[in-house]
């Protein structure tokens, strides 16, 4: 009997470890031989822990599992009260185009054999037969843009590093996924770490870099453990070694280190303050050497691009947003989790159809797209197709493709205040607009809350100073949630709203 119990953080946070333990105990008690696989998550967080049992027909899902549901597993799966049928046939799974996440949830994350059996290493093998320029051209042709948020074309970044003079170059994977509502990097690292390793190895071939780092935030203990184990296994299998090796590094509690230059400072052992650009990290990055800094999903999308060809990947998407994007649907949501799809779904389709509205059943008031620096979108924005330019056109950004859904009980003034507070807490402190501006932002919103109408234009001015004046996106984009809340939900900022009631 082959049983899958996810090791994914979300599944674990909802009791997967206890379920796994109970399964082992119950099997022993019944004298049933089982093979327990700790896999990644399929991304249906509302069903976690989602246990699967392999049958001749396929993998049957049962969830959300509790310890109490375990004994029934051994008495005919189909009759289990929480049996869901074949996981691959669930609507959530059928609706997706899983390119980057094809193996996540499917394979044993730490089995190279499983990885290869599901198409792993095909991209790297192909890249080995190509020249540096050919690999770069393939990635450029795919239209892949940085999935960390900035959306810079990955191929162009690689080309700069590839052509930069210098013996020593680096591939740095930005796994400092600090945005609320984002967990794609975490799920990928926990569920299919070899894809990231393969993507980085291809980046190494394309640029001539012999060393890679994965900088993972300390808030991700499971991802750190799995990545370290995967790197060890890859070394033993000679996938990593003298030609290209990877080291796992752990952050230390600083959101701003998700910004590439602060990340590099942190990696070098310095204070994680933002560096001014130029010089670009592609020319003077880690230790002053040419460095590719790419997000986990960007790098993890490379193997499939190499394996299936740029055209295959490019065929998905709309406009200048090519390929697929792993949407992370979070917050007050009925069906939350990870949904990989081609660019182009409208916000309304995502929120109402895929996510099924709020968990509380109340109307959706706002959706924050792109993490703590993303705008709050009202229902009137729901026709916006999911793409870089399309969201920019609505005064927002898609960022790392996280969506936080709020019901109508949300106080948008409080959310605007939190955006400023978060910026104040996480500011590196280097540039003035962010360092002082965020603190003044909180104070000014407090004035508005107390009914000081004069503070509203001051807040608008402050946002304009922060937006144009800040050194990086932390101070520069904090005005997005603040101003969008102010613009779209003016009633929440109306002085003396309580007095009127």
């Amino acid at each position: 009997m082959k049983i899958y119990v996810p090791l994914d953080s979300a599944a674990v946070a909802l009791g997967a470890d206890a379920v796994a333990e109970a399964i082992v105990t119950e099997a022993a008690r019944r004298g049933v031989t089982i093979e327990l696989v700790r896999n990644g998550s399929h991304g249906m967080v509302w069903l976690e822990p989602l246990v699967e049992i392999a049958t001749d027909a396929g993998r049957i899902g049962i969830g959300p599992m509790t310890v109490a549901d375990v004994p029934a597993l051994f008495g005919g799966i189909a009759r289990h009260p929480k049996a869901l049928g074949l996981v691959e046939n669930l609507p959530w799974m059928k609706g997706q185009t899983r390119l980057t996440f094809a193996r996540v949830g499917v394979i044993d994350p730490l089995s190279l054999a499983d990885y290869r059996a599901h198409g792993g290493m095909v991209g790297l093998d192909r890249a080995k037969a190509m020249s540096k320029a050919e690999i770069v051209a393939e990635v450029t042709e795919s239209g892949l843009r940085g999935r960390g948020g900035a959306g810079f074309p990955t191929g162009i970044k690689w080309k700069t590093v590839s052509e930069a003079p210098g013996e020593r170059k680096y591939i740095v994977c930005n796994a400092d996924e600090g945005d609320s509502a984002t967990f794609a990097d975490r799920m990928l690292m926990e569920g299919d770490p070899f894809t990231l390793i393969e993507g980085m190895a291809i980046a190494g071939l394309a640029t001539g870099a012999a060393k890679g780092f994965v900088y993972i935030r300390s808030e991700y203990p499971v991802a750190i453990r799995i990545m370290e184990a995967a790197v060890r296994l890859a070394r033993e299998a000679a996938i990593l070694g003298a030609q290209f090796d990877i080291e796992i590094r752990v952050g230390a509690g600083a959101y701003v280190c998700g910004e590439e230059t602060s990340l590099l400072n942190s990696l070098e052992g310095k204070r994680g303050v933002v560096r001014a650009k130029p010089p670009l990290p592609a020319l003077e990055g880690f230790m002053g050497k040419p460095t590719v800094v790419n997000n986990v999903i960007s790098l993890a999308s490379v193997p499939v691009i190499l394996a299936k060809g740029a055209a295959h990947y490019k065929d998905f998407g709309l406009g200048r947003s090519r390929g697929t994007i792993p949407l992370q649907i979070a917050g007050n949501v009925r069906f939350g989790g990870l949904y990989e799809t081609a660019f182009g779904l409208t916000l309304g389709q995502i929120v109402d159809d895929i996510a099924g509205g709020t968990a509380t059943g109340r109307p959706v008031k706002a959706v924050q797209v792109g993490g703590p620096l993303g705008a709050y979108h009202p229902r009137s924005d729901f026709a916006t197709p999911f793409g870089y330019e399309e969201f920019a056109g609505q005064g927002g950004l898609i960022g790392h493709a996280g969506l936080t859904i709020f019901d109508d009980s949300a106080d948008m003034l409080a959310q605007a205040r939190f955006a400023m507070e978060f910026c104040a807490i996480e500011s590196c402190g280097k540039c003035t607009p962010c360092r002082i501006g965020a603190v003044r932002g909180v104070e000014t919103i407090d004035r508005i809350a107390k009914g000081d109408a004069a503070a509203i234009p001051l807040l608008t001015d402050l946002c304009s100073t922060m937006k144009s004046g800040s050194l990086c996106a932390l101070g520069g984009f904090t005005p997005y949630p603040v101003l969008s809340a102010l613009t779209h939900f003016p009633d929440d900022f109306t002085p003396a709203k309580e007095a009127a009631e």
Binding site: L14, G178, F183, R186, G251, N332
Partner: protein, 152 residues
């Protein structure tokens, strides 16, 4: 409690384990904190000397990152997510109830030294908030009862 010679020996071992790395300071500080529960003051000049840094630089790094403590925490560390996705699921309410139950605010430790309460901004559990981390263990859809886990 280690005496100063033991402390210095242990730190020297940690430094030696990491010295070949490129940019070894953060891995060393993580290891020191793992060994001692905080970054003891004498570690700063010792690490600085070993890495040809100044003690001011090491101090600057230690104080930049919220993970590093200059004093030991309580016996249990309770981290509650304060970020938006968890807020949407009532994280503020849960935090308020926990603060009231423990009688402390963020970054504080209960008088009996039992629990330190820390905010955290995202554990990547955004579709099952509010999220918490109790002594390194992840908790999804948490409520104020999470306090019971640290009352031992």
């Amino acid at each position: 409690m280690l005496d100063s010679a033991d402390l210095s020996d242990r730190i020297a071992e940690i430094i030696a384990d990491h010295q070949g790395l490129e940019g070894p300071l953060l891995p060393i500080l993580h290891a020191v904190q793992a060994a001692f529960g905080h970054i003891p003051q004498p570690a700063v000049p010792q690490i600085a000397n070993a890495l040809t840094l100044s003690k001011a630089e090491v101090h600057g790094v230690v104080t930049f990152y919220h993970d590093f403590r200059e004093a030991p925490a309580g016996r249990h560390i309770l981290k509650l997510c304060r970020a938006e996705a968890c807020q949407a699921m009532g994280a503020d309410r849960v935090a308020g109830a926990i603060k009231a139950a423990l009688g402390i605010d963020w970054h504080e430790t209960t008088a009996d030294g039992r629990v330190t309460l820390e905010p955290v901004f995202c554990l990547g559990l955004c579709a099952c908030g509010p999220a918490a981390m109790v002594d390194g263990r992840l908790v999804g859809r948490c409520d104020a009862s999470v306090v019971l886990e640290v009352s031992a």
